[in-house]
């Protein structure tokens, strides 16, 4: 996955993501594609969650999956999550759960609760940073004010080295793939470098929904695991998604 939040010169925040999933879950030799990735694509839906006939939040989901991976609380905040690998992983959390130790939260139920109940960027940030989890994760959160965006790197129990937008210091976007931002990504799977190269080449002056979509359409940021691309603008309350394909030659991940 690749998630990013960028601030344009007028202080608008753009939050976008490629959702990549299905690694090692079966390769279709004939079609040069991942089996599960291709099965997930037809399940992608955009959902408007309403209460009292008013939108509470909107999301891009896989039908049948009640948790949230990508969502917007219109005019308040935007949220995506990327997978994080750690030896202290989800299987330990699941084992604890089975053995009756149930003080952690299932990742996607937490993101669903945040989108459904939090009413501000700060509240969402606190919940995503402090709640104990069953599995490690990256939460990429955008607010509705200039400078409000961060990457929350979570272990099961802690938030590690939060990275915030800092436009004055020249950090006008934050970008997360699936590696801790203070470490180099695995050289076999470096999607961070090409994505940052294209963001820097775009420059803040030209950043927009369109040019962010260009970045997420550039291989290997776009790869055989990419199921959908979602673009969100909190100031307009807007979410749009597109199901992707990656024509050969294309990286398997």
């Amino acid at each position: 996955c690749t998630s990013l939040v960028a601030e344009d010169p007028r202080g608008n925040l753009i939050h976008a993501r490629n959702l990549d999933f299905g690694l090692f879950l079966g390769w279709d030799m004939k079609n040069h594609s991942w089996v599960i990735t291709e099965k997930l694509k037809p399940l992608v839906v955009n959902v408007d969650f309403r209460r009292n006939n008013k939108t509470v939040f909107k999301s891009t989901n896989f039908a049948g999956y009640v948790g949230m991976l990508t969502g917007i609380r219109p005019y308040l905040f935007t949220l995506t999550m990327n997978e994080r690998f750690s030896l202290d992983g989800g299987y330990i959390g699941v084992l604890e759960w089975i053995l009756g130790k149930r003080d952690g939260r299932w990742m996607s139920f937490l993101t669903r609760s945040v989108l459904e109940n939090a009413t501000s960027y700060e509240e969402a940030k606190k919940l995503l940073s402090d709640t104990k989890l069953l599995a490690p994760a990256y939460f990429i959160l955008g607010g509705n004010q200039s400078g409000e965006a961060c990457i929350i790197t979570r272990s099961r129990t802690h938030s590690l080295n939060p990275l915030e937008l800092d436009v004055k210091q020249g950090r006008w976007y934050v970008l997360e793939t699936n590696y801790d931002h203070w470490k180099k990504p695995l050289f076999l799977d470096d999607r961070r470098t090409p994505a940052m190269k294209c963001m820097n080449q775009t420059t803040q002056t030209n950043i927009s929904i369109k040019t962010v979509y260009d970045v997420l359409s550039t291989k290997p940021v776009l790869n055989k695991l990419t199921t959908y691309t979602t673009l969100m603008e909190v100031s307009k309350g807007n979410l749009e998604s597109y199901i992707r394909a990656c024509p050969n030659p294309c990286m398997p991940w």
Partner: protein, 121 residues
Amino acid sequence: QFVPPYTEDCRTEMYPPRGPTFQSAVTWYTVNLDSPPSKRWTEIITDKKDELVSMVQAIKDLADAFVPSGRLEELIDKALPMMIDTLPYPFNEEMKGIATASGVPLGEVILFNIFYEIFTV
């Protein structure tokens, strides 16, 4: 660009989405949070039932590939439903509604929804 990782020059003018990297648009649905949890996803699941069954079957085929005896699949269908009421409300009720609307066994719906934690294995 023609050797792994096939890094391209930065793409431009890709928006609005079209061409070989754009497979299709995404359909919008409404979920009414005032409805009972077990009814919320019925419209979506009714539309996407075949695709959901097909995706779950692909995961089962994978499970069988790892454990040809079928024991893993049996475990999913027998053990996971026993944990449904340990999962937080209203998500447990929503999963029950999805199983009912799709005909997919509850254990397999649960597996799909906790796949993130399981997959870290």
